[in-house]
Subunit: 336 residues, 2 copies
DNA sequence: TCACTTTGATAAAACGTTTGATCAGACTCA
DNA sequence: TGAGTCTGATCAAACGTTTTATCAAAGTGA
């Protein structure tokens, strides 16, 4: 923990000289000889600028917070990777926090956002974040960018092309010959769920065959998937295929199908939105739509960076690379 | 972003007075009247002490880093929860980092550990962390506590009772009547894998029936599980049951069993170490040994806290609550 | 009344960094 | 030679906190 003073003492110069040299101040006038003494001294003491000193001086911490609903969720892993790599390149450190810790009255919001710890916030809103908590996060003074979600009256969202995802998954099933296709969706209040429903309807509408619409809105967790499947199978004419709006929910669907004695894909085709390592390890392996989550993370950082530097930012959709169908073994033509 | 100065100005007192009152300085002599003026002013300005100012003053950031091999891994989710809650109670904020970012030559180590950003480090060493990277993390000046792992010559580890876990899982299978029980383990270099093997052997040794030992050491990932099962099924006398040292690996085992046409649990019983939400959503649902990962996290924070306050700390094992068998549907008596 | 203590408050330094202002000495040019 | 410019470096202030030392006024006891 050597300081500028230590380096200066060793090199026999003033603190300012050291600071100028080590921060590559272009306007600094310092002779080659002293410059070398300084860099040598810094190296031998293994000098690193003190974080708190800088933060105080600049009133900027070079830390951004990434708040996600659930760290466990494999879907977020790619997002986090994108955020971390983008942040690293721009000189930021990422402070990861769980949304459930962000209680409106709780200490976490103040601690994280109110003490100047973080310069900005990337916020991925989960299904189960209370409106109140969201409000108190958005009204905090920290520049914020919403990732994978939108909020009425809030500008600065980065989202995926969920319409395309819903459409692509549905078209895959239509292409296999299915006509009774249900959508097992997230909560109706969620923006991503609404968008995926739009895509689903678009695909159904385009289909020449009469394909009735059937949607459940129970959420993105395994349990929600189980509940939805049970509900759908109680229909007079149950679906022969389902689009599941989330891979975790789809895992629940597969489990419940076993319980109900429904064979996948022979009796029921399942395609899920989002790809993760889990998809290869279910039985049967899940057909999915891979979304550019890594790029979403990177773009989120870029957008936050722009906002931190005073630029006006608009809502954007990360459409590159486009959602991509990964056909595995959970989808097949309907039984004759 | 009100400062002490702002509050002082509003209350018409000095900065020192404000600091004393707001930090509950017991030795402070200040009249009730001014005390009230100060607290009122602070409240109306929504004052929060600036993080950087404090960090500079105390040369302490009140941040601890938690470095884990893989954020996606559901096994770590409980650990993280324990760490975060423990940290919160002790007034610390958790900075989560991925071990793979900690490259020896890379910038991340310096950035995180060398700039005074974090007071201490909780380090969960993964299978695939290079020895070199581990060394450079341990030689950093930050007080460090190893979680769920040990390192030769390093004192300050908090681990689980992996021997008991291995024993418990094996005894469950023995109790069902199995005699050909294999252990699908982690890498041989890993401490946890070695411990689980010890427990496995203990259980086999105690069994009256002749139960030969059979172990694979391919790692904790799904792919390792798949590889191990294929290998075991090539044996002259393949096992009728397997202890899988990790739940993620066990998911791979289940998948590979489907591919090989082996029915679980009729032809092969599977029990895994560690419980997670995924266990309930495999087919069949996985019998597991639940380990006290939450408590491990909390204890890790406690230990680090002690080390930060200059106390000598020894290696400890978190044995409470004890590993607990969760019988689901992946285990059954051997076929007659 | 004088010496002394108590009360209630403030001044100032320090943590480590950056940067505008300053300064001494050497050089340039008329 | 004297005025001005350039060079190479240092001084000092500021960011927001905490805390030791200081201080004025009021109270206490003989």
């Amino acid at each position: 923990m050597a300081t500028l003073g230590d380096v200066a003492a060793l090199a026999g110069v003033s603190i300012s000289a050291v600071s100028r040299v080590l921060s590559n101040d272009a306007s600094a006038r310092v002779s080659p000889a002293t410059r070398e003494r300084i860099t040598d001294a810094a190296k031998s003491l293994n000098y690193r600028p003190n974080f708190a000193g800088r933060a105080l001086r600049f009133s900027r911490s070079n830390v951004i917070a990434l708040i996600v609903p659930d760290l466990t969720n494999a879907v977020f892993a790619e997002l986090m990777r994108g955020v971390e790599e983008g942040a690293l390149e721009r000189g930021y450190v990422v402070l990861l926090a769980r949304a459930e810790d962000m209680q409106p009255g709780g200490e976490m919001i103040d601690r994280l956002l109110g003490e100047g710890r973080v310069d900005g916030v990337l916020l991925q809103v989960g299904d189960h974040v209370a409106q109140e908590a969201l409000d108190s996060m958005l009204e905090a003074p920290n520049p914020t960018v919403l990732v994978n979600s939108v909020h009425p009256g809030f500008s600065g969202s980065v989202t995926l092309d969920d319409v395309a995802a819903g459409r692509l998954a549905t078209e895959h099933l239509l292409g296999l010959g299915h006509t009774r296709i249900a959508l097992i969706n997230g909560l109706e209040t969620t923006y991503t769920a609404q968008q995926r429903a739009v895509g689903y309807r678009e695909a159904l509408g385009r289909a020449s065959a009469a394909a009735p619409e059937r949607i459940t809105w129970h959420g993105y967790e395994p349990r929600a998937g189980r509940m939805s499947l049970t509900e759908l199978m109680g229909d007079a004419e149950p679906p022969t295929a389902v689009v599941v709006a989330n891979i975790n929910s789809a895992i629940g669907v597969l489990g419940e199908a076993r319980v109900l004695g429904i064979r996948v894909p022979e009796e029921l085709s399942v395609v899920a939105v989002h790809d993760a390592w889990t998809a290869e390890n279910t039985w049967p392996p899940l057909t999915t739509v891979k979304m550019p989550l890594y790029e979403l993370g990177r773009h989120g950082v870029d957008t936050l960076y722009a906002r931190l530097h005073g630029e006006e930012i608009a809502d954007t959709v990360v459409a590159e690379p486009a959602p991509e169908l990964r056909v595995r073994e959970s989808t097949a033509p309907p039984a004759a």
